[in-house]
Structure formats: structure tokens, C-alpha cells
Symmetry: C2
Subunit: 475 residues, 2 copies
């Protein structure tokens, strides 16, 4: 069948628009329907509106040339075009488009895009190997691979903490951080050193220096932070265990956003030597996995003081009668910021352009918090701790792991900040009480999953995992 | 429009067949036409026959489940299905299929598959970072990244040489190999340590321990070896410079197969300290790039004794009147094998199961070559050297870089061996004479490119590159 009139022109016009990032023409050449599709390895966008938003949220497509165009004509008004492209940076890509002619002219109703194969994604990893570091012992974690958040010492490597200038000034570690050493001794290998938000001071995962790791479940969504690299690596199967930190939700939020199992350990239960701090009163070590079985094994290696027994009841957050969560979250935010400036302020003052974007703004705001303000915040936190501990006792608190699903990349900074504040009202409870928190994967709606979180009494990590596995809490 | 009868059953049957690697059902459900398409990030296969061969050549698809199926019905006999899949190892994939109903029932006429995003490809890299090693100086190579073949010492890392058992026994290097140090001093960073065929003893690039790197240009084709990892990394844009070795074609063949610029340096001109040898009489250091400009800069850093001047004429191989190429190639093969066994025989005898597949067979055959056979081969090589040098003098020899395009993964081992032997008749000339060789990218036919090769007098590397750029030898 011959190629229908106008099809080739429309195809070429789309290709030109793509290369010029001409959003208007691209929008016009995609059918203005709720059923229009656009997908790639990152997932499938459904509907013209979402596709437009996705395009507005990126800076453009990779420069490329067409090297082969195959057309399957279906009828005079419908054809499938499959094109091989040569990326200017090297390698071939592929795109498939279904074109249909209506009164609006030729338009794409479905598109599928493959970029050239990636062999190394520097948005996820700083250094990665097969393995990077072999195990030092044998045990339950044999055969497992760990994505280590770039805030832990790995012998032979400097710590980067998500900030290039910070990395430049760090010595090569001569010994592993205790948390790293414990997993190696249990038989796991280190797969690599994975990206973090700058100095861990974010819940978004959009490090401006190194790019934003893909969200493995939700197309075009933030991965969650600050343990963004470990979370994406585990969600994509590039590592089986993520080793991270959690101060205000840095394990729980990426677990929630990417449908992972996540564990924040009891404050003080896992040594933090060889780990870059953010706010020592709240900092904890944490884990990410795709299965509860592996989370249990990894937790036994990381937090050997944890117990399996759990006697208390399970209480939902809205049954607890906590009316002051907004006040608690604000006090948490202030004291976290005050401590973050105490830890990093001198370095940031010496390197004023090292930390960019919202984390930079957060540090700037932190620098203006007075000791008096911090003292008032600590008073609130002390009261909050008494209140919550009094209400909970040995019970387990059940609450959402985050205030909502992962924001999309095209969400406004104001909306992302609003999501952060709402999430802090949930995540601050573990921070304030030092209690361990387990995140179980939420069911994936069209907006993406929201994990469920269980907060247990101190050192109840293994009990929480066992209880969850027994009660089928995973959806 | 409602979903046509039978479509869903056919779609589900195909999905089941894919998961069971039921080749017959998959073949039956794809239209038996020369125009049927099947593509992914690795490229586009055209025609039912090629798609069948591709499927026979792999062990099956990644285990997965369907999580979302979108159907666009075009007419009662045609529909596009776009499905999101969840890979068991983690992450989402995407597939688009155009289904058409004929007298043969419902069949796919075009399919586009995306696996979940890859963040680290261990078939290409052993260790990779952003960067792995920063530059030690400034110069023309500033901003460039090097994929170092895993036969060169990189301080802080052991050399693996493509064999896990070999890697296990190696110490961490304390200094860089000279070739590595020269590129670092010129301003390049090391991106990573890239895969090689086992002990460099292959031209195929299909290391059985670590998998076969993708050919960036030809779907389903071998990448070429033994500098397979650097070649694929450069061809895909994951590094800008590949640092490799060339004994019998290990730079020239992957350059030819993947449309790259490749340089084998003059024998003895670049120090080989910190480099795993194969056959020292033929071993050389080499480079791979995507552009001649960068190849020139890298060659200036790597081989500073090379000169820009070139006075001789250019002669095509078939004008030279060399009638004994098969004899020369056989003598080359024997002496290469004899030396390879001299270098690695003791280790291989101690580790009899360490080197697998065709490289293992080649070493086994090498172990049976007698000193007398080697002496006879060396006599032939001496005569060959005199003959070729006498014919060429200061002239430049032009010949194909390989005997044909990259064999596909489904090519029989016998055919791959035949291609190797035919290629050796071309590549042995540089080995025998020690002359430098420049590969320029060939034009890409449907079978894939065959590079063109220029052999110059000793230390004419820069002159060859300059001549080629001036004369537009690149197609």
C-alpha cells in the first residue's frame, strides 16, 4: 500500500519539533485525547495532558538523526512508523509511532521511545562495580549486593555526600563505616556507592549536580530522597539491598515513592561512625529491599540488638488523638535545621556555592535560626516525646509513610515543598521518639504508591518485619 | 470501538509463549513476512526470519508480569497494544505491538520492547565511576573520559583480564600503567575499567563469564574483541576514549564492527608496563574514539614519538601482490599461540577451569605447539616481514579492517571461527611488521559496517590520522 499523502510531512515536522524542543508543534501533532500514549523505559504516560506536562518538565530530547524509517500502512488514514535513530552522543535509539488522520490532520495516538542503551547511570551511582567490594565473611547475605548511600565510608574511597566540592576535600577512607562492615561480614558484596541528595538535606531525590534518578514505578516522578540512588538501584534490581540514612524520612520517603520495603532503625542502635551526619539527634541508619525476607536478613546483620518479640497492639495514627502534629513537625524542622547548621555550617560558609537549589536554601534558612529558637523547639520536642511515648507505650503506630505519592518532575517547587511539609508531619514522629519505622509497599494507583508505615517500640525492627509478614500487611 | 474477537486470546498466548520461551508459538504469532519488525534499545530486526534467529540465539526473555494493558483498536482486524510489564528482578518495562488479523489469524507485524532501565551494565564494565580516577594533569584531553580495558594497571584496583579466577589472585596495583598515566596527565579522567575477552585471546567479544557487550550499531551482533568493553562504551557514548590492546586485531576488529575510529600503535612505541601480555612479539597498545579529532589528541598523549609527516604513496592490498597471506596468517597464529602459552601456560595449568569456551580451547591447542613448530613459524614470519617491508617501504597499505561485518549472536561457533581466520589474514600484516594501523569507520550496510584500515610505516600514527582527515577517508 502506498504511503498516504501528508504522512511523511507530519512525521518530519514532528522530528524537527522534537529536535528544536518546539512544545507547541509536538503538542499539536499528538492526538488531544485522554487515550493518547507516550512511553519509554521509564514507564507509560497516558493522556495528552500528561504528555504535554512531561515535555514541559524536561529540557528537550537527546540530539539525534534518523537512520532508518520503516512504515507499515494500515489504511489511507492510519500507519505505524518505526524509526531507528542515531544519537549524537553515540548509539542507536528506536521509536515507534502510530499515526492517524482525522479532521485535525495527521496525529500520533501512541508513541514508544527507546534511547540508546545505558551502561552506567551517574544519576544513580557515583562508582559501581561487579563487585565494587567483595564480602568479608559468609552468612545470610551471601549473594546479595548493596547500594551504599554516598554518606558512608567505604575503604579506598572518599565520601561525596552528594556535593562535588565536598567530595574534592575528602580523604580516601581507610576503613569501612561500621554499617558497611556489618553487611560485608554477613556475606553481602558492595555493588556501588549510590547518589544522595546534597548532605542528605532533602526528601525529593533531585540532586542538581548529578541529575535525578528515575522512579522505577511511576513514570516522570521524583525518586524520593535523600537515599535516592540506593532506592532506584534496588527498585530496578541493580542491587538487592540499599544502605541509607533516615533523619526526617530519607529511607521512608523513597521506599514509599518506589514501592519498596524500608527500615529506619532505632535511634542510636546502629553505630554511625564513618557516616556523614545531618542532625545527630535524629540521624539513623536504614535499609531498602524489594522483599521482606531480605529486609529481615539485612536487619539482623545491621541491627543485631533488635528483638523479634512484640507484645503491643497496633494503633492507627488517627485513633491516637495527636492534635499537635503541625507544631511537632515545625519544632522538628527547627531543631533539625539548627543541628544541620552546627554540623555543616562552617564548611558551607567556606564554600558558599557548593550546595545548590532547595537544599542550599534550607541551609541558608538554618543559618539564621537562633539558639533561643532552637531551645524553644527542643522544649516542644521534649513535650512531644513524652506525649507520644505516653500514648503509645509498647504499641505499634500505623500511619502512611508519606503524605502522598511521588510528585512528578513537572510539579512546581512550591508544590514539592508543600508535599515535604505534609510528609514531615508524619515522619517527624519517629524522629522525635527515636522509634524504628518499617515501610511496606503501598498498592500502586495511577498516581503511584504510598507506602504504609509501622512505628514500633525501640529495637523492635525484627518484630515489626515478622508481624508484617505474618499479617500480610504488604498489599 | 470494542476489542475485536480473538485479539486478547492471541495477546495472552504470545505473552505465555514469551515467558515459556516457546519459540514455535512466538514464531507463529509474528507475521511471516519480510517486513515484520521487532526492535528494542539494541536496534531493529527486520523480517520474520531474522526475528526467529534472534530468538533462537537467546535463552529467553526476562521473567515479568503484565501490570497495564492499553489497546487502541484501529478496525476489526487491526489494533495496537501497549503493555506495561513488571520485571521480576525489579522495574517496569514497556512493549508495543501492532496486531493484524489475516487468514493466519491474529499476528504481530511490529513489536517494540523496552526492558527496565539499566543503571550498570556488567557486560561492559567491571568498575565504573563519575569518574573512577580524576585527571592528574591538564592538556588536550581535558573533559574526556577513558574506558580502560581490564588488562592495564589502574592504581587501587587489581587487573582482571576477563577471567574471575585471575582477578582473585591479583594484588591491587599501586601505580598506573604508563599508558593509563599518559592519558591522565593529558587531562583525561578514567571513566572505568571495561571488559575484555579472556586474557585478550579472542576477536569476538563474547566473554562467557560476564556476558557479551551490545554492538552499538548492529542489532544482535557481536561487539568485536578483545577490547569489547571499551569499544561498546565508546560507541554508546559512555566514555569518549577506549584504551585497549591489539595483538591480532583486538582494537581493529571491534572498531570495524562498531563503526569506530581505532588505532593500533607501532609495536614497541608505547610502554607495556602494567599491562597483561598475550604474545609480546605482537602486543601493542591502542585507542578507540568516535571522532578523528579526538583520536589525534589521544594519540599525541599516548604515543608522543609519532610523527605527522608521511611521504609514501597509498597502496591497496590487492595491488601489493601478496600471495602467501594464508601461510603468513597461519605462522602468525602459531607463534602467537606459542607465546601466549609461554606467558600464561603455567597459570592456566594450575587453574584448568578458569578460561572457558573458545579462548580456553585456543589455549589448550597452544599448549600442544612444539618449539620446533614455533621455530618454523618464526622463519616464515621473518621471511614475511622482509617481503612485506620490501614491497611497502614507506608506503601506506590500505585494506579492510576485518574480513566482514560483525557476526550475529546466532551465528554458529564454526562460522565465527571462520570469520576469525579470514580476519587474521588481514590483521596479521600489522602484527608481522609491527606497523601501526588506523581504522576508519566503514559505511553501515544492512549487515553492519566493515572498517577501512591504513597501515603506515613505524611511528606514522599521527600522519595516518592527518592524511585520513585531509582526504576524507571516513565514509
Amino acid at each position: 500500500m502506498s504511503i498516504p499523502a501528508g504522512l511523511n510531512d507530519a512525521f518530519q515536522a514532528y522530528e524537527r519539533a522534537l529536535m528544536q524542543n518546539d512544545l507547541e508543534t509536538m503538542s499539536r501533532l499528538f492526538a488531544d485525547e485522554g487515550t493518547t500514549l507516550r512511553g519509554d523505559g521509564g514507564g507509560l504516560l497516558i493522556g495528552h495532558e500528561q504528555i504535554d506536562a512531561f515535555r514541559r518538565g524536561r529540557s528537550g530530547a537527546l540530539p539525534r538523526e534518523l537512520v532508518d524509517v520503516q512504515i507499515q500502512v494500515i489504511d489511507d488514514n492510519t500507519a505505524l512508523i518505526v524509526a531507528v535513530t542515531a544519537a549524537r552522543r553515540g548509539g542507536h535509539g528506536l521509536q515507534t509511532q502510530l499515526w492517524r488522520r482525522t479532521t485535525a490532520g495527521w496525529q500520533v495516538t501512541a508513541a514508544h521511545v527507546s534511547a540508546p542503551p545505558t551502561t552506567f547511570d551517574p544519576a544513580v551511582w557515583r562508582i559501581v562495580g561487579d563487585p565494587l567490594v567483595p564480602p568479608t565473611g559468609t552468612g545470610d547475605l551471601q549473594g546479595q549486593t548493596v547500594a551504599v548511600k554516598d554518606v558512608f565510608a567505604v575503604a579506598g574511597h572518599a565520601i561525596g555526600a552528594g556535593v562535588p566540592t565536598y567530595l574534592d576535600g575528602q580523604p580516601h577512607a581507610t576503613t569501612h563505616a561500621s554499617a558497611v562492615a556489618r553487611l560485608l561480614r554477613a556475606g553481602a558484596a558492595i555493588r556501588g556507592i549510590a547518589r544522595t541528595d546534597q548532605l542528605t538535606y532533602s526528601l525529593a531525590g533531585d540532586n542538581p549536580h548529578y541529575g535525578t534518578p528515575v522512579n522505577a514505578l511511576v513514570p516522570g516522578a521524583l525518586p524520593g530522597g535523600s537515599s535516592s540512588g540506593p532506592a532506584t538501584a534496588v527498585a530496578l534490581g541493580a542491587a538487592s539491598i540499599g544502605l541509607g540514612t533516615d533523619t526526617a524520612g530519607s529511607i521512608r520517603v523513597p521506599a514509599s515513592y518506589q514501592g519498596l520495603w524500608g527500615l529506619r532503625t532505632t535511634h542510636g542502635s546502629v553505630p554511625v561512625d564513618g557516616m556523614v551526619p545531618l542532625a545527630p539527634d535524629f540521624d539513623t541508619v536504614g535499609l531498602l529491599t524489594r522483599t521482606p525476607q531480605l529486609l529481615r536478613s539485612a536487619a539482623m546483620a545491621l541491627a543485631p540488638e533488635s528483638a523479634f518479640a512484640l507484645s503491643g497492639a497496633v494503633v492507627d495514627l488517627d485513633e491516637l488523638g495527636l492534635t499537635d502534629l503541625a507544631t511537632y513537625a515545625e519544632a522538628f524542622r527547627v531543631h533539625q535545621a539548627f543541628q544541620a547548621w552546627s554540623v555543616h555550617g562552617a564548611w558551607i560558609a567556606e564554600h558558599p556555592r557548593a550546595v545548590l537549589g532547595s537544599a542550599g536554601e534550607r541551609f541558608a534558612a538554618a543559618s539564621r535560626i537562633t539558639s533561643a529558637e532552637d531551645a524553644r523547639a527542643r522544649e516542644v520536642l521534649d513535650r512531644a516525646r513524652s506525649t507520644i511515648d505516653g500514648l503509645l507505650g509498647g504499641a505499634v503506630l500505623r500511619l502512611p509513610a508519606a503524605a502522598g505519592p511521588a510528585p512528578r518532575l513537572w510539579t512546581s517547587p512550591r508544590e514539592v515543598e508543600r508535599a515535604r511539609r505534609a510528609t514531615l508531619e508524619l515522619t517527624c514522629i519517629a524522629g522525635i521518639t527515636g522509634r524504628p519505622a518499617l515501610v511496606t509497599p503501598g498498592s500502586s494507583t495511577s498516581e503511584g504508591p504510598v507506602g504504609r508505615c509501622l512505628l514500633g517500640p525501640p529495637n523492635s525492627e525484627l518484630a515489626l518485619i515478622a508481624w508484617t509478614m505474618r499479617n500480610g500487611e504488604a498489599e
